[in-house]
Each structure stands twice: as C-alpha cells, then as structure tokens.
C-alpha cells in the first residue's frame, strides 16, 4: 500500500526535475502591431507562446526561413524552437512589424 503510492510519486518527481531544466515557455505578445519584448533570448527546445491581442491576424516569420507562425486574431499559438541562431523575424502581412529572437543551442 505504502510503496504502491510512493513509486508513481517518485517517478513524477524525477520527471519533473529532469524535464523543465532545459525546456522553458516564453511569452511574446503581439499588441497593436508590436511584438513585445522586441528582443528575446531562448534555447533550442523552448516553447514560444505567441499571444495575439489584436483583432488582426499576424505572422511571426523568420527571415532565414527557420520558422513561420500564423497567429489568428485574439488567439495564442505555441511553437517549439528547433534551431539555434540569432533570428530576425517579421509579420508577412505587415512587414513593418519586426523583432529578434536569439536562440542558444
């Protein structure tokens, strides 16, 4: 009885200490045609939560082609960073929206 309860708990604890150590979730907000923060540092494997507060659709499109995320109006979209690099990205619909994401290996 006692050990039966203890084992899954231990597994959860172990899993919990191993996983989040290198996978963070980072929020980037799009509000009134501005990406904020405009400069973000992250690591490969991190998740970006793109929070679009506008009534307009936007995209976060890497100039080097590494990612292209479409964010519908008033929606949050997540994407996982797969490649390292300092990536300039912009909105394809409104190319005057620009920001930088620096991704460490």
């Amino acid at each position: 009885m006692r050990s039966g309860r203890c084992l899954p708990f231990l597994a959860v604890l172990l899993g919990a200490t191993v996983l989040p150590a290198h996978a963070a979730t980072i929020q980037i907000t799009i509000d009134n045609l501005v990406f904020a923060p405009a400069e973000v540092t992250a690591k490969v494997g991190d998740t970006i939560e793109w929070i679009n507060k506008d009534v307009f659709a936007h995209t976060a499109t890497a100039r080097n082609g590494d990612f292209d995320v479409t964010t519908p109006p008033k929606k949050t979209v997540t994407s996982v960073l797969k490649k390292a690099g300092s990536v300039e990205y912009y909105c394809r619909y409104h190319p005057n929206m620009k920001a930088v994401l620096t991704i460490a290996p």
Binding site: N32, V55, A57, R92, Y93, H94, P95, N96, M97
Partner: protein
Amino acid sequence: MFIRLSAAIAALSLLGSAALAQGAKPTDPQIAHIAYTAGVLDINAAKQAITKASNKDVKAFAQDMVRDHEAVNKQALDLVKKLKVTPEDNDTSKTLSKQAADKLAELNKLKGAEYDKAYVANEVAYHKAVNGALETQLIPSASNAELKSLLQTGLKIFQGHQQHAEQVAAKLK
C-alpha cells in the same frame, strides 16, 4: 505604360491631398466617414483582384486586404456606435469614391500579368495616399481620443500594407 502609371499615381495623390486640403479641418463624423470609405474602397478593389488576379502572391495580398480592412472597419463601426457619432458624407469621401470607381473600371479592362502589376501598383499608391491623409490631416484633426487612437492603429496597419504591396510589386518585376 510606365508614364501612364506614374500619371495615375500623381493624379491620385494630387486629388487626395487637394480634396483634403480644401476648407476647414474635417470634423470627427467626417473623419470617421473618410476612414471607413477608404477601407471599403480597398475591399472592393481587393474583391476584384481575388477574381481577376493570376499571380498567387497577388491573390493572397488581396485576401489580406479584405480581412484587415474589414477588421478595421468593424472596429470603426463599433466605435461610432459607442460614441453615438453618425459618419457624415463629405467631399473627400466623394472624391475618393469617384476616383476608386474610375480605377476599378480601368483595372477591369486589364488581364493576366498586366492586371496583377497594375492592381499592386495602385495598392502601393492608394495606401501611400491614405497614409499621407491619415498622418497630415485625419489624425491631427480628430478630437475624440478613441477615434484618434483607432486612426493611429489604422495608420500602422496601412503602412504595413504599403510595404507588403511594395514587396509583392518588386517580386512581379
């Protein structure tokens, strides 16, 4: 072709600024009408492009125009309702509508790549003219803070459209 195009652009900006420059500064109900009309006219042009354009980037651009201008205009309608303002027709709105109708008829005669180029070139010129009007006339003249703020958001969106149109135009060459 090039001369005709430049002449058309010159005529558009001239008419746009001339219409806006005349008389006293526009009132909020007039500004709301002008901004809304400018959006509707671009939606009409885009709807024509969705059926006529052959290039897929041009078609996609036209779809973006419908989506964004409808979103801006919905906000404008919500705002005038909230402020209990009735948009008021005026000479600038009339001039814009007349010019747009002429342009639509002119574009309607073109086909294929020629149409695509002419539509995108006109989108660059049109957004440039509207942005100029927003910056120099409509935003400074707006007295209601919420209307001013909506126009400022509109300006950012339309500046984005202008850049987007310039990129599409560059790719067509």
